[in-house]
Symmetry: C2
Subunit: 643 residues, 2 copies
């Protein structure tokens, strides 16, 4: 592993702050998104998503569980699933980043009020959980498979890190520290030699070690990563692969089992590997992710092909209609890819972050920020029904976004990601700045020669033009790096000082003695394009997708009122992109009414193609019940018996 950066201090509002790596993270103090696609999402988060989430964790009684604990009303009065404490912590993490980002004082008061309801529940030895350990409850740590106690601590620690890195130590951080000490006391050497069924504590402990400087937390995280995969958890109907307890992390060749668990675990493993200089462990995760991306990832960046077990499928098993692609797995993938970006500096990790942000995370919240997708299907066959505004929904069976879920990990995961999104935009190293995600805003960083800063102006992804103006510089040469996305295989151009050159996917660098006002422009070929699937993906044979820049498009029935069903659409290869208004030619399948569906003699299509608009996948299902598909069957590709 390269080690070109200096240790960072516990400041800057950085969600992730490795002691070393190829790139240095920047934080909310260094980067500011100001408008545009992501600025709009941050505004929605600030004005709707976070408050909506606060409202629902109260309404569901998940915060009141803490009150009930203090008042001695547990087990009787407990509500929600075994992991509901964690959803409260995730909302608090989102609030903490948001307060750090904007200085919202009212929200700060609300966060402090939440902390004062939670902290008193902590027991003398640091244990903190509303579900276990009281009369009428199961004893502590008796159900590590499903109990989620360490998972809940993990999110408590993440909330505390957000608070500490933006405001400094307070009661939340103290509470987290006592919990982390407790975990080390109970699960350290000589203690319970096991792990949590749901990873999360691993990455949280490493980050808390980075924040506090306490190496004991890192060592505990290392123990959790190393123990896993040796059958330390009980066997379950899904099999131990469900929680990655069948193969040790450093021996696995691909991600498997529950996708969120796999991603969180891998993020923790990278953290441990970086801090312990364990290149074998780091390489193992890199290899697993590479295979997973090549064979087990949807075009949206979504992960998880099975509803059952919310899990990865086999290689190339990527059904559109049963895509699980949990929003939280998308968040987990971004966590993992960001850590690998910092460790290696390789653009492919920023590529997948971009794809996943636009096509999974941005797809989850409704336009009003008050309803969410938990799963992110790529093919909605039936319009389905509108979920209740008043009740939490089952996690995966609603076809429209729902306001909340009985298992509601996803909405607060979106909230904490949006609130801390600035950090994912850019990094620095000793020699300069690297732009990874393109958003309107500013980036400022200390490099060896001093402080440099740029302002980015762009309408990306609506438009491919990205203008970077130097606003602060040093009196010598430094390097500005820009990512050319993997999808921009041809047509990308970089202009520096009036000179334009074609550039290829990867990282392009401009090394010069910049002056304030210097402008570098990157032009990316965002016009709509066809994409064909790997021939080994059975579910996609004879189909094509349309992408525009980093955005996956889809056919939504709302835009095709004359076609009976998106299921019956067949596209002809006529694609038009009029400044972002994308249309394709569609020839609908003629109605068929056979009593047995095997023995077809060919598909009969309407004679003339009609033009139908495609819309960004992230925007679908905002106009009422609809059907939708990302992958479009091509006219003529249906099976015919050889004659």
């Amino acid at each position: 592993m390269t080690s070109t950066t200096e240790p960072v201090t516990a400041a800057h509002g950085r969600p992730v702050a490795p002691s070393h790596g190829a790139l240095r993270p920047l934080g909310l103090d260094d980067v500011s998104i100001e408008g545009g696609f992501w600025g709009d999402r941050q505004e929605l988060n600030a004005t709707a998503i976070i408050e909506h989430s606060e409202h629902w964790v109260e309404r569901m009684g998940w915060v009141a569980n803490f009150d009930a604990a203090v008042e001695g009303r547990l087990a009787a009065d407990r509500r929600g699933r075994e992991f509901s404490d964690a959803d409260v912590y995730k909302v608090m993490e989102a609030m903490a980043w948001e307060i750090g980002r904007t200085g919202n004082r009212e929200m700060d008061a609300r966060l402090q009020a939440l902390v004062t309801r939670i902290a008193p529940v902590q027991e003398a030895d640091g244990y903190l959980n509303t579900k276990f350990g009281r009369p009428g409850q199961e004893p502590r740590y008796t159900d590590l498979q499903w109990g989620h106690e360490l998972y809940c601590y993990g999110h408590l620690l993440q909330a505390a890190i957000a608070r500490g890195r933006t405001k400094g130590d307070d009661l939340l951080v103290e509470t987290a520290r006592r919990a982390a000490d407790h975990v080390c006391d109970v699960f350290g050497p000589g203690g319970i030699e096991s792990v949590d069924g749901h990873p999360e504590i691993e990455t949280a402990l490493v980050e808390f070690a980075r924040y506090t400087g306490e190496q004991r937390y890192l060592e505990q995280a290392r123990l959790f990563v190393e123990r896993r995969g040796h059958g330390v958890l009980g066997d379950i109907e899904f099999g131990r692969s469900y929680f990655q307890d069948d193969v040790p992390v450093r021996e696995a060749s691909v991600m498997e089992g529950h996708a969120v668990r796999a991603m969180y675990l891998a993020a923790g493993a990278v953290d441990v590997a970086v801090e312990t200089d364990d290149s074998q462990l780091l390489d193992a995760v890199i290899r697993q992710l590479a295979t997973t991306v090549a064979r087990r990832t949807y075009i949206t960046g979504g992960m998880g092909a099975h509803h059952e077990g919310e899990s990865f499928g086999s290689d190339f098993e990527l059904p559109s209609d049963r895509a699980y692609s949990e929003t939280c797995a998308g968040v987990g993938s971004i966590m993992l890819n960001y850590r690998l970006l910092l460790a290696t500096g390789e653009a492919k990790y920023a590529d997948l972050i971009e794809r996943t942000l636009f096509n999974v995370v941005a797809a989850s919240p409704a336009a009003d920020g008050e309803a969410f997708f938990y799963t992110n299907t790529l093919h909605q066959r039936e319009p389905g029904t509108v979920p209740s505004d008043d009740e939490a929904s089952p996690r995966a069976s609603s076809s429209l976004r729902a306001p909340w879920f009985e298992v509601s990990c996803c909405p607060p995961n979106v909230a904490r990601t949006f609130a801390s999104l600035d950090a994912y935009v850019a990094t620095s190293d000793a020699q300069g700045l690297q732009l990874h995600q393109y958003a309107e805003g500013t980036v400022r960083a200390a490099i060896d020669a001093g402080t440099v800063a740029v302002r980015v102006a762009t309408r990306y992804p609506a438009d491919g033009l990205i203008t970077v103006e130097v606003t602060e510089t040093v009196g010598k040469e430094w390097t500005l790096s820009l990512r050319v996305p993997g999808w921009a295989a041809s047509g990308a151009e970089l202009t520096v000082a009036g000179e334009t050159q074609a550039v290829s996917p990867g990282t392009v660098t401009v090394h010069r003695a910049f002056e304030v006002g210097d402008v570098v422009t990157l032009s990316l070929p965002v016009a709509a394009r066809w994409t064909a699937p790997d021939p080994r993906i059975d579910a996609l044979r004879g189909q094509l997708a349309v992408e525009r820049g980093p955005v996956v498009l889809c056919l939504e029935s709302t835009d095709a009122p004359t076609i009976a069903s998106v299921n019956d659409a067949r596209v002809v290869p006529e694609l038009d992109d009029d400044n972002g208004h994308v249309t394709v030619g569609v020839r609908p399948l003629a109605p068929v009414d056979e009593s047995w569906p095997f023995g077809a003699t060919g598909a009969t299509l309407a004679a003339d193609a009609e033009r139908v608009t495609l819309v960004p996948y992230y925007s679908w299902a905002n106009r009422g019940p609809s059907t939708m598909r990302v992958w479009l069957p091509v006219a003529g590709a249906d099976s015919v018996v050889p004659g």
Copy 2:
């Protein structure tokens, strides 16, 4: 509904004996399968499957639960899931039919021994269940969603019916009668106004009413059918459609939810409809099944496209690799289709019985009868691992047949179906005999003019020639009917008295004054043929299957040692059938190693095709771990970006 038959009495070893309908059932006393494909399965059942099942219900402690109940050791000593009593009853039903079929005295003693262990558990009011109602157990009927108490009674009644119809009343029948009375007392008018989460009691109560003549049981079944669909059960995460409690049976348009539940319920609804002359209810089920067969059924006859909830998917959602196609859903489909065959006389129901018997039920047991498929996938992507001989397996995650399951409904369901299979072969009416399934053996029936009988000689399905010789006749004209399967669209021929004519799918009749020794031959075109899927099935686009007569074939990796994976096979349209040795031309996909699977530029195939043998789907996975696919991608059908 037509009503051409007279009431049948409680004899003849008939599993189903409606009071009227288009066709009269025959039973184990009337039909005898003697050798051939199904004779071999009955022999395997007699010598292996039934004993294996007896052994495992003992070994798992599911019979011992009854002993523990008598000895006051419950709740402490109970083992198995909440429905384990039912698996014991199903094994008993299989034994009862087998004893009726063969007169096996040793098995009769074993069955009686089982009955004497179970009967004493019944309480004074008729309640009988090892899971509920004792100190330390949940109270009776407090969990109708998941408790399966009525489901267990249903299988108790079915076992008693098998016993009563083959041997007459005994302690098992008495026990069942007390249980049925209890159900009417508790769930009748003024009682608990609900149903069981898992249907089965409905069809069992109607048949028990037919057996005993007690109309109260029929009325109770009617109440259960009518109550369902009005949200009488609690809501669950899967949604009420899981147990068909969202839409009343007579209003539903298609089968939905848990496939076994749907089939058992529909069978009960047909029974109620027939006995109460409720043509609206009968038509509703007929309509639902027609849509289900046209849109939600696998080429194997298998039902259930989702692992999650073991349920039907949407229309045309039929993924091969995630096919659930539970063996029990196949059995349930045969139950339903047989009842509709009796009610309507339509050949299409016998068609689906044939398809499902050959390609679902026959696929479940291993060649040695000591391991079973619970689910029946149509595409095995990875060879997987050999299940333990010593332990029960998870129901759906093993890729090879397992000796037993924690949830082990399927093996005894296969056993009771094989043991009573004779009944499905033929029926009678006032004018003659109808042959529905072609098996070596004899059929004898009383018609208006007297008794007629035939001997069937055939190697079907290996060969298409079926020879029917009259062995007993009456002194006037009568009608022999033969089913021409739906798959025999062209090439079927009937020969009567030396005259051959082409016949089409459906029912062909020969009406004449038969003499003993007269021969009618039906020749079916069983040679291997290509089958194309409905263009609306996304999972099958660009693929073809090969069928041979009623048998679905598959490509198993064992037969293609030179091809890296069946996933990479591409077929060319060269199909050869050399007396049942079927081969196709295969051009394997060249190895590809892309880092991202979207953006393919086309599939590269090996230049030359090699010939690979296809084997019957029912026989796969008998030669060690393998990969397998029923649907074969066609060379040239992979997606390519238009350019």
